[in-house]
């Protein structure tokens, strides 16, 4: 009798764990920010978890070096981020003149999801200029 009870308890526990831990995990994965795929390139300049955590530090370091010292390396440059991740302005214009430029914006989408406002695009171009240049 007690064995039967134990088995039943195990069964219920398993079901409980399966529904509370595993299933929501799958759902959460699909609920993240909608990140448009990179326009070109398949591998970021660093590992993805590292870039997720530290991209702002790299960008800040790079901005100081470029602005103050005139070092214009391309690794960790904001311009290169945009070149890879964001469709050039010319593509966007071709598709639709009314298309809001933020809709498929890699940086803005993720930042909107995280609730952190990036200051970059108050001044910096939001899209690469494309092949024209």
């Amino acid at each position: 009798m007690s064995q039967l009870l134990q088995q039943a308890v195990h069964g219920i526990l398993f079901l409980f764990l399966a529904t509370t831990l595993l299933v929501p995990g799958v759902v959460m994965g699909g609920d993240g920010p909608s990140i448009p795929p990179a326009v070109k390139g398949e591998q970021c300049v660093d590992t993805v978890p590292n870039m997720r955590r530290n991209h702002m530090e790299y960008l800040k370091q790079h901005r100081v070096e470029t602005m103050r010292l005139g070092i214009r390396t391309k690794l960790y440059s904001l311009k290169e981020c945009l070149n890879c991740h964001i469709e050039p302005r010319s593509y966007e214009l071709q598709k639709s003149a009314q298309h809001p430029e933020t809709e498929r914006h890699f940086c803005k989408n993720c930042h909107a999801y995280a609730g952190v406002k990036p200051d970059c695009f108050e001044c910096h171009a939001t899209q690469p200029e494309g092949e024209a240049k």
């Binding site: 300049v45 660093d46 005139g70 390396t73 391309k74 690794l75 311009k79 001044c123």
Partner: protein, 253 residues
């Protein structure tokens, strides 16, 4: 950071040979090659104080009523009427990186026309007064505003005797990729720093002037055209009495 996937820092065989050639040649003909080295700085090298960028404006060639330099600057850097970026500001409030000034000597009647822009002083008053170090002079003599630090106090605009700086009053969109600009920051001529860093050796205004009145070059390099012309012909610094030693000199006034 110790990752080996840093393409620019790896010295390829070709780069190594190029560098070696330049070094060996530098001992034979130092002047010429120093100029080349200053122009074509590697991407990972910082601006050097061995260079001082300057500009020589020939007012005898500059034509009254001609605005080629202004239009070129607007197109290059995305300010002014061309970009229609500040629709709600009065013309005197809008950004003006370079302007044409007409001068007349009352006693003789001689008229001059000249472009007036940031003079890229050696001792810039805008840098002296900046409370956040946003206004700064780069090692190669270019005076810039670091908009990341600028709080828009406009002390530099008051300090500048050349009226060379502007304040942006409105939110901007569609900025140029190489020239970030934004509301609440002071800005001015950058001497086309992005072009000089890329090794183009000239500015948009100089390239656009059909009269060839604007010459850009390295004042510290004796073999550069600007140094030779400054050594040969009389040139003037505007408000030389202030001892700011501007990098922009004028010929013929």
């Amino acid at each position: 950071m110790t990752n080996s996937s840093k393409p620019e820092q790896e010295l390829s065989r070709r780069d190594f040979l190029k560098g070696g050639a330049a070094l060996s040649a530098a001992t034979i003909a130092p002047g010429i090659l120093l100029y080349t080295a200053a122009d074509a700085r590697n991407l990972d090298q910082s601006a050097s104080s061995a260079v001082r960028w300057g500009m020589l404006i020939d007012t005898t060639a500059c034509e009254s009523g001609c605005n080629e330099c202004i239009t070129a600057c607007q197109q290059e850097n995305g300010w002014g009427e061309i970009s229609a970026s500040e629709p709600n500001s009065r013309p005197e409030q809008q950004a003006q990186w370079i302007r044409k000034v007409e001068l007349k000597d009352k006693s003789t009647g001689k008229q001059h026309s000249l472009p007036m822009l940031c003079q890229h002083c050696e001792n810039p008053p805008c840098v002296d007064v900046c409370p956040t170090t946003a206004s700064f002079k780069r090692a190669d003599g270019i005076v810039l505003v670091d908009r990341h630090l600028c709080i828009g106090c406009r002390f530099c605009m008051m300090a500048c005797p050349y009226k060379a700086r502007s304040f942006v009053h409105e939110s901007l969109h569609q900025q140029k990729e190489h020239m970030p600009r934004g509301k609440g920051c002071v800005e001015g001529c950058t001497l086309c720093v992005h072009k000089l860093d890329a090794g183009e050796g000239t500015t948009a205004c100089a390239a656009a002037c059909s009269k060839g009145a604007i010459l850009v070059g390295d004042l510290k390099d004796e073999s550069s055209e600007i140094s030779q012309r400054v050594a040969k012909y009389a040139s003037t610094q505007i408000r030389a009495d202030l001892a700011l030693n501007p990098g922009v000199r004028y010929q013929g006034i």
